[in-house]
C-alpha cells in the first residue's frame, strides 16, 4: 500500500495548465482514494479495536509481548540491512550506467528489467536452490577448497538478506540513475580541474548531489522490505520472521483479524511516519523546489 504513496514523491507535479482546476476536478481522484484506500483502512482499524472484544487489547498484546516485539525488531533489522546493502551495491551500478555508452547501458537496463519481470516466486526458489547446503554456491566453495563444511546460507538471516537485496536492487538503481544522469558532467570536470582527487570528487561533489536519489531509493526499498512476505517466508527461518508473515498468520491461519488489523496498522503508521520524515528532509529537492 505504501508504495503507491511513494510514487507521488518521485513524479514531478504536472504543469499548471494540465492540472484540473477547481474542486470538481479532484472529486474522481478523491473518490478513488476513499473507496480503495481510506474505507478499507478504516474497516481494518475498526476491527483491530472491536475484535474479539472492544478496546485496545490487541495493541496491548501486540506491543506488550516479547515475541511480537522481536518480530518488529527483526523486520526493521532485515529492512535496514537490505537497504544498506542495496545502496552499497546499487550506487556504483547506477553511476556506471550513467557514464557508460548508451548501447551498453541499454543492455544492462534490459537485464535489470527482465529480472524484475520474472516471477518473484521463481526467483526466490532459484535462490533457494543456489544457496542450500548442496547448492551451487556451497559446492563451488567446497570444490575450490575454501571451506570444509557447507555454509548455512539459507533458512536464516543470510538467506533472507541475499534474496531480498537481489529483488530490491532495481528499485534503488533506477531512481539513483535518474538523479546521477542529471548531474552535469562539467561540475565533476570543474572539481577535477580545481585539483580534487577522484575520492574528493566522489565524496564532496557526486555523493551530495545524488542524495535525493539515494533518499528516494532507500525509502522505497526500506518501506517495501517492511511489508515483504514471499522471500522472507521461503528463504528465512522462523527465528527471523517478519511482520508480513505474522499478519498472514493472524489472518489466514488463526483467523484473528483483530490482531492482524492491529499489526497491519502498526506497519502502516510506521510507513507513513517514514514518508513524512522523508518529505520533510528531502521533499523539496525531489519535486524540483517550491
Amino acid at each position: 500500500m505504501s508504495t503507491y504513496s511513494d510514487a507521488s514523491s518521485v513524479s514531478a507535479p504536472a504543469p499548471r495548465a494540465l492540472r484540473p482546476t477547481g474542486f470538481s476536478g479532484v472529486v474522481p481522484a478523491l473518490a478513488f482514494v476513499a473507496i480503495f484506500f481510506i474505507v478499507p483502512v478504516a474497516a481494518l482499524l475498526l476491527r483491530s479495536v472491536l475484535e474479539p472484544v472492544p478496546g485496545f487489547g490487541n495493541y496491548a498484546e501486540l506491543l506488550g509481548s516479547a515475541t511480537y516485539l522481536k518480530i518488529f525488531a527483526n523486520t526493521f533489522i532485515v529492512s535496514g540491512l537490505v537497504t544498506a546493502i542495496s545502496l552499497l551495491i546499487g550506487f556504483p551500478v547506477a553511476w556506471a550506467l550513467a557514464i557508460m555508452p548508451g548501447r551498453l547501458a541499454s543492455v544492462i537496463f534490459a537485464i535489470l528489467l527482465l529480472s524484475m519481470w520474472t516471477n518473484l516466486l521463481a526467483r526466490t526458489y532459484a535462490w533457494m536452490v543456489l544457496l542450500q547446503r548442496t547448492g551451487l554456491i556451497n559446492k563451488m566453495l567446497m570444490g575450490m577448497g575454501l571451506i570444509n563444511q557447507p555454509l548455512p546460507l539459507v533458512n536464516n538471516l543470510t538467506g533472507v538478506t541475499i534474496g531480498m537485496t537481489y529483488i530490491m536492487l532495481p528499485f534503488i538503481i533506477l531512481p539513483l540513475y535518474g538523479v546521477i544522469k542529471k548531474i552535469d558532467p562539467a561540475i565533476l570536470q570543474a572539481a577535477a580541474l580545481c585539483g580534487a582527487s577522484l575520492w574528493q570528487c566522489l565524496t564532496r561533489v557526486l555523493l551530495p548531489l545524488a542524495v535525493p536519489g539515494m533518499a528516494a531509493g532507500a525509502l522505497m526499498v526500506f518501506v517495501m522490505s517492511l511489508g515483504y512476505f514471499v522471500t522472507p517466508s521461503l528463504l528465512g527461518g522462523t527465528a527471523n520472521m517478519m511482520l508480513a508473515e505474522l499478519i498472514a498468520q493472524f489472518v489466514q491461519s488463526l483467523v484473528n483479524w483483530g490482531m492482524g488489523g492491529a499489526a497491519a496498522l502498526v506497519l502502516l503508521v510506521v510507513t507513513l511516519s517514514l514518508y513524512v520524515v522523508q518529505l520533510r528532509f528531502f521533499g523539496s529537492q525531489n519535486t524540483g523546489g517550491r
Binding site: 509481548s65 515475541t67 522481536k70 518480530i71 533457494m128 536452490v129 542450500q132 547446503r133 548442496t134 547448492g135 539459507v154 533458512n155 517466508s233 521461503l234 527461518g237 522462523t238 527465528a239 520472521m241 505474522l246 498468520q249 489472518v251 489466514q252 491461519s253 488463526l254 483467523v255 484473528n256 483479524w257 492482524g260
Partner: protein, 336 residues
C-alpha cells in the same frame, strides 16, 4: 436516449448472465497436483452426471472464507479445508449443514464425518528419509528427535496443525492412546531439543525439495509426497511407524449460491469410484470404505488405510476446540 439503451442492454446481459451462473459450481482447493487430481476424479464425473460445470478456484484461504460469509458474498460452493478447521468453522457458524439425504454417509469412514463436513481424503504424517544421503534412516518419532543417533537437519510442517505436536509427544514416550488432551508444555520442551536442527516446510513441494536435495535428509512429510518422491527416482524410504493421520474435509460455506448442486457434488466426490480414482492419483487414502475394492492391490498397499496397525489418529474435535490457543503458542514458540 443513448444511456437508456446502454442500460437496457446491460440489464439484458445481466438477466442472461445470472441464470447462466447458476449452471456452474465453484470448487476451491489447495491447487497443485492434488487439485488437478480432484478435478479429474470428482469434477469430471460430476459434470457427466449432472451436466453442471465445475469452476476450479483456490487456493483455499480461511481468512477469505470468513470474509465471504460475513459479507454475504460467497463465491465458493464447495471448499476443501483441513479437518480441524472444518470442525471449528462448523461450530462458529461459517458452514452450511450437509444434507445427508443427498450424501450417503453409510459408506463413509465415520472418523471423518460431522454435521458440517465429510472427509475429502485422508493422509498420514510419516517419517520420510532420503536413504542415499544418510548412513541410516530414522524409523520412529523417537529416532527423528534423536540428534545424537541421527545428526543433521530434519524438516517438519511449519503451520499450526495436527501432526508435529503429536510427534513430539510420541517421541517423548507418551502412549498413543494418552495423547489427548495434548501436554503442550511437554511437547514444546521436547521440540526445544531439536529446534536448531529444524527446517520448516510450508508446502508439499517444498518438503519434497528439501528431502531430495538432502538439505534436510529426513523429516515428517505427508505420505503422498513420499510416494511421489519414490516415483521420481529418489531413494525415498518411508517409515509408517506411528503414522499420524489427519483428513482434509469438504465443506459448504454458509450462504453458498448453489446449495443443492454443492450437496450433489459432495455426494459424487465421496462415492466409491471417484474416491478410488483420487487415491490412485495422489497416494492419499479414500474415505469411502468401499473404494479399496476398486483399486489394484499394488496401489492400495501404499495408502495410509493399509497402515492401521500402528496408526495414530489426530483428534480433530480436540484440535477444533483448542486450535486458536495452540496456534498462538505454536507461532510464538517458532519465532522465539
Amino acid at each position: 436516449m443513448k444511456h437508456t439503451f446502454a442500460f437496457t442492454a446491460l440489464a439484458a446481459i445481466m438477466a442472461v448472465a445470472i441464470p447462466a451462473k447458476a449452471e456452474t459450481l465453484v470448487f476451491s482447493s489447495w491447487g497443485g497436483t492434488t487439485q488437478d487430481a480432484q478435478k479429474a476424479a470428482w469434477a469430471n464425473p460430476y459434470t457427466e452426471k449432472t451436466g453442471l460445470q465445475v469452476v476450479q478456484d483456490g487456493p483455499t484461504d480461511y481468512g477469505k472464507l470468513k470474509a465471504m460469509v460475513e459479507a454475504n458474498q460467497v463465491t465458493w460452493d464447495v471448499v476443501d479445508v483441513e479437518g480441524d478447521y472444518a470442525a471449528q468453522a462448523g461450530k462458529n457458524g461459517l458452514l452450511e449443514k450437509l444434507d445427508f439425504s443427498v450424501i450417503d454417509k453409510s459408506k463413509l469412514d465415520p472418523r471423518f464425518v460431522t454435521d458440517y463436513s465429510v472427509g475429502s481424503f485422508y493422509y498420514s504424517f510419516v517419517i520420510g528419509c532420503n536413504a542415499d544421503a544418510v548412513a541410516a534412516c530414522p524409523k520412529t518419532w523417537a529416532d527423528l528427535f534423536d540428534t545424537a543417533k541421527f545428526p543433521g537437519k530434519r524438516t517438519f510442517y511449519k503451520w499450526s496443525a495436527p501432526g508435529v505436536i503429536e510427534a513430539a509427544l510420541l517421541a517423548d514416550g507418551v502412549a498413543a492412546d494418552k495423547l489427548y488432551p495434548l501436554d503442550l508444555d511437554r511437547a514444546f520442551k521436547k521440540l526445544d531439543t531439536i529446534k536448531s536442527e529444524i527446517i520448516w516446510w510450508s508446502g508439499g513441494a517444498q518438503s519434497q525439495q528439501l528431502l531430495a536435495s538432502a538439505e534436510a535428509p529426513f523429516g515428517s512429510l505427508w505420505n503422498g509426497r513420499m510416494t511421489a518422491l519414490a516415483k521420481s527416482g529418489v531413494n525415498a524410504e518411508t517409515s509408517w511407524e506411528q503414522n499420524i493421520t489427519a483428513a482434509d474435509s469438504l465443506v459448504v460455506p454458509k450462504g453458498a449460491p448453489n446449495l443443492e448442486a454443492a450437496m450433489k457434488f459432495i455426494a459424487v466426490a465421496t462415492s466409491a469410484e471417484p474416491q478410488a480414482a483420487l487415491a490412485k492419483a495422489t497416494g492419499y487414502a479414500p474415505i469411502n470404505l468401499e473404494s479399496a475394492k476398486l483399486m489394484d492391490p499394488e496401489t492400495a498397499k501404499t495408502l495410509p488405510d493399509r497402515q492401521t496397525a500402528s496408526q495414530v489418529n489426530a483428534d480433530m474435535s480436540y484440535w477444533a476446540e483448542n486450535r486458536d490457543a495452540i496456534g498462538e503458542r505454536w507461532y510464538a514458540w517458532q519465532a522465539k
